[in-house]
């Protein structure tokens, strides 16, 4: 009998609420005893702190927000994703790398810079895209945050 590799699922998209809904569905598809959990963006609280910074700090650029996103993702990998996988549990990263790359490309940032930025992030076993907006409530994902706060 061979040991099954723990499932690492990435859920990406532009709509925060849709990502959360798709992540819940993805988590529910994992056997109950092997369920780790969902790793959400801003687990580190970096963006929460950035949101309350005074106007005098100036609005961050898309590139600055992506560097913060990568720092937050490194935090999530260290404290949430890798420990769950090490215990043999399935984990859902919602969002993961593709959301940030899509935002960066839309903001005109070079593909090579984005590829280098997320070099530290392991490849997930599965990738899902949340392409249906959850209309019941307003989402507050990374893309919404970035559109609200970036220059």
């Amino acid at each position: 009998m061979t040991a099954r590799k723990p499932a690492f699922t990435a859920v990406d998209g532009i709509d925060g609420a849709a990502i959360v809904a798709a992540a819940r569905t993805a988590l529910a598809s994992i056997d109950r005893e092997a369920r780790g959990g969902i790793s959400h963006w801003d687990a580190s609280g970096l963006f929460g702190e950035a949101a309350v910074a005074g106007d005098e700090a100036g609005r961050p650029s898309a590139r600055t927000l992506l560097l913060l996103y990568a720092a937050d993702l490194a935090f999530r990998l260290r404290w949430e994703i890798r420990p769950a996988l090490a215990e043999g549990r399935g984990v859902v990263a919602a969002p993961y790398v593709d959301t940030a790359v899509a935002f960066g490309r839309a903001a005109g940032i070079e593909r090579a810079w984005l590829a280098n930025l997320f070099q530290f992030a392991p490849r997930p076993n599965q990738r899902r895209f949340a392409d249906e907006a959850a209309r019941s409530r307003r989402g507050h994902g990374f893309v919404e945050f970035a559109l609200e706060h970036a220059t």
Binding site: S44, G58, T64, L67, A70, A74, F75, R78, L117
Partner: protein
């Protein structure tokens, strides 16, 4: 943001590097480039090379870290104040603010003695600085000398380089900044 997390020892080398790169990018866009665009002179105490030396000393790949800072904004002059690890350690211990911080203990987590930990770390940082000084043609100042002597040397070197045009090699950084609305009146 960085200071509070650093004090809690809550940052991995990657997180520290990425947060510094974000902070650096924000300062370049909000302070350095607007001032240069207005024809002002900017003195940065410290610039990206400090981050490079520190992050590589912590085991990160130089190429990965350097690319985080792209598009690069190169200074016209880079002064590198060179001291031995022993002098650096003495100055940190003698500095009340630095001694009160947890900086030495943070640097080499597998060494219990904070002074020993700091010595090991700063030796690696100095090695990286010396490599960068060669690659990027820093002006090395002997910081073992008195403050007065260093001051006179810096004034002389700075006068020689005061009138410089915009550097062509910064074109990508300026273009990137203008694209996000920098330079708008």
């Amino acid at each position: 943001m960085i200071k509070s997390r650093k004090a809690l020892h809550a940052l991995s080398p990657e997180e520290f590097s990425l947060l510094h790169a974000a902070d650096f990018r924000h300062r370049v866009e909000q302070q350095v480039l607007p001032a240069l665009w207005d024809g002002k002179l900017v003195i940065a105490d410290r610039f990206l090379f400090t981050g490079l030396a520190r992050d590589v000393a912590r085991g990160l790949d130089l190429d990965w870290v350097l690319k985080l800072y792209q598009p690069l904004l190169w200074p016209d002059l880079v002064f590198y104040f060179a001291v031995s690890p022993a002098t650096s350690g003495r100055r940190v211990v003698g500095d009340a603010d630095a001694a009160a911080s947890t900086k030495p203990a943070r640097t080499s987590p597998h060494v219990d003695d904070p002074v020993e930990s700091y010595q090991r770390f700063i030796t690696r940082v100095i090695r990286e600085y010396e490599s960068l000084a060669l690659i990027f043609n820093f002006i090395t100042v002997d910081a073992e000398r008195s403050i007065g002597e260093q001051h006179r040397q810096i004034r002389g070197l700075f006068r020689d380089g005061a009138q410089r045009p915009w550097s062509d090699w910064n074109a990508d950084a300026v273009a990137d900044w203008l694209a996000i609305g920098g330079g708008a009146a």
